[in-house]
Amino acid sequence: MAKSSFSKKSRTEAGQGYLFMAPVLIILGIFVIAPILCAIYLSFHKVELLGGYNLEFRGLDNFMKITFDDRAHIALKNTVIYVVIVVPLQTLLALVLAASLNAGMKGEKFFRIVYFLPTLTSSAVLTLIFMWMYNQNGLINHILDTLHLPTYNWIGDPSVALLAIMIMNIWATAPFFMVIYLAALQDIPDSHYEAAELDGATGLQKFWHITVPNLRPVTSFVVIMGLIGTFQLFDQSYIFSGGSGGPNNSTLTVVLLIYQYAFKSLGTMGYATALAFLLAIIILVATLLQRKFSKEESLY
């Protein structure tokens, strides 16, 4: 008897809990869960939206098409190259920036603000400014020229266009992760460093053997956020190429391709959702792999 009343009580309590959560659950359901399910549903169909809504079941057809769509392969290749280069570099740069700001220099606060500025600027504006700097007669070529280095047609040459976006993005995203590192750095107890000093460790040794291991959970977070962010590269390459992914498909990313299929060409919405689904799986796998290789939980 007592047992059943307990379970009844817990049931009402759970009911109350859900009732309180209902607003959030409803909103999440409508704006997050439902679109995801809808996208998965659409990815198995040929979707004709214009001139009368028309759905035609095609099974795995859309996914099969990805295997012979060259542009999808190019987009995937570009995106993977971009991720492999950008994530490590921006993580490293963020760590170095944070460490230098944590070293106790004069004017630390000033530099903290200056470093953080690129992150505060909208990416569209940043891209436009960078496009001026990347202009054939722009600032970057001017600097390269005065240093007697070769100049490039950054925007028009397929071999460097993606590189130009990488440089821009590393510069713009690293400060954001720098702030996260900075917060974590201030959490490392001084006693660790004192103990190391007593043992006669050099500055570099302290950095590699105390700072870096202590930052591991944060590094894990930074890398995962970086992975997700870089896999979803869109706005910069969209503005850079005027939406085409050119020159010669060199700045075509997966999300840009999805956009093109969903909104530019007619009747390929289903294929676009199949690509989006594939991208979600790729990001999921990459994140799981990253978690497997870094044993972050051990520190918490």
Binding site: L19, A22, L50, G52, D70, N135, G156, P158, N248, L266
Partner: protein, 416 residues
């Protein structure tokens, strides 16, 4: 106690939900008067063009007192916005439609065929036939061209004088020779080229090859490659041609205005642009040089089309009829921002005698209209991507075209 809790929780939830929903109701835009309100969508254009359109719309409203036209400007990504609105059922009643995009949209059934509205006094035969045909599909007309432009050769007279050249080149061979004389290292190029299919379509087909046959890309053949090879030779061998981004310019017109190219092939839009931005440049226009002794140029046209789901089709037709009619078109094209597609209006405004616009008007007779069925956007994208790599000298043209064709046809298959 318990009941109270449940009730209060329920009440709270309901309150929250209600407060969320209140934002969604919209005041109904009801017509109190008997006026029919129709909307017209288009891209902006420059301030003078906008004023001209307002003028035409005012004239229309004066002569049609029971119709109220609202102009809705879509400044960027026009087609994306238009398609999305058509899907959502919120598109304008009448909208601009580029001939290049027309077949794809016509195929979906989102555009109203206009044949049944046309009366004799509208005088369809007055339109330039190639421009009108661009909006036709299976014998039905889905739009009427509001204006057009062909491409003409813009040449810098001062540079020509300095190089000792009498006049603009008449043939492609002359253009190549002149470009050599006009080029000054990497500072000034003889010919500012746009290595893109929309500018070179007539040239690609000049030797009998077809870019598209039966909705499939068929441009990877010798006749197309041979026809386009001169462009690559000028850039790679002679080094007398370059595209705008190579000299740090944003467009062909800008490259020409900045004095970085002595010749460019541009349309009517370049004349007001030069007037506004580079008024000091002394330039002339001429018909494009002949390729293999044949005259050719591109023609770009935009028309007015009607939304098939419009609730005010009669009023919408009245608007299209006025805008593409003799009176409306005359006002619209009077300032020379666009060329009239009606022969009678063209004759009245006398653009064929205008020193700068004359060559553009002459081109209309033999121009290739930039429209080739619903698959052209896909073909264009793939062609341009690969053609660029050949243009940059990364690979032979034939190989690039083969790749582009294979890719385009795969993409067409994906779209089907």
């Amino acid at each position: 106690m318990k009941l109270k809790k449940v009730v209060s929780a329920a009440g709270l939830t309901a309150l929250l939900a209600a407060s969320l929903l209140t934002g969604c109701s919209q005041p109904d835009e009801s017509d109190n008067s008997s006026k029919t309100v129709i909307t017209l969508s288009g891209w902006g254009g420059n301030p003078v063009e906008k004023k001209l359109l307002e003028e035409v719309l005012d004239d229309f409203e004066k002569s049609h007192p029971n119709i109220d036209v609202r102009f809705n400007q879509i400044s960027d990504q026009y087609m994306d916005v238009l398609k999305t609105r058509l899907i959502g059922g919120t598109a304008a009643d009448v909208f601009y439609l580029d001939a290049f995009e027309a077949p794809g949209l016509i195929e979906t059934g989102a555009i109203e065929p206009l044949d049944k509205y046309v009366t004799r006094d509208f005088d369809v035969d007055d339109f330039e036939k190639p421009m009108l045909d661009a909006f036709k599909d299976k014998g039905k007309t889905y739009g009427f061209p509001k204006d057009y432009s062909t491409l003409a050769l813009f040449y810098n007279k001062k540079m020509f004088r300095e190089a000792g050249i009498d006049g603009p080149p008449k043939t492609w061979e002359e253009l190549e020779q002149d470009a050599k004389k006009l080029t000054k290292g990497k500072k000034v190029y003889g010919y500012g080229v746009m290595p893109q299919i929309e500018r070179l379509y007539y040239m690609a087909q000049s030797q009998g090859g077809q870019v598209i046959t039966n909705d499939r890309a068929t441009f990877a053949e010798d006749r197309v490659a041979r026809a386009l090879q001169p462009i690559l030779d000028m850039h790679l061998k002679d080094k007398t041609a370059a595209q705008a981004s190579e000299v740090g310019s944003g467009s062909g017109g800008e490259m020409f205005g900045q004095g970085r190219a002595a010749m460019v092939m541009e349309g009517n839009w370049n004349i007001p642009f030069m007037e506004d931005t580079f008024p000091k440049i002394d330039y002339g226009t001429a018909e494009l040089p002949t390729v293999n002794g044949k005259k050719g140029t591109m023609s770009f046209t935009v028309g007015y089309a009607m939304n098939a789901e419009s609730k005010h089709k009669k009023a919408s037709w009245e608007l299209i009829k006025y805008l593409t009619g003799k009176e409306g078109m005359k006002t619209w094209t009077s300032k020379g921002f666009a060329l009239p597609t009606r022969k009678s209006v063209a004759a009245e405004l006398g653009y064929d005698k205008d020193p700068l616009r004359g060559p553009l008007v002459k081109g209309a007779k033999y121009a290739t209209v930039w429209q080739d069925g619903p698959m052209l956007p896909i073909v264009m994208n793939n062609f341009n991507n690969q053609f660029l790599s050949a243009y940059l000298g990364e690979r032979p043209l034939k190989e690039a075209l083969k790749d582009a064709q294979r890719q385009a046809n795969k993409e067409i298959k994906v779209a089907e």
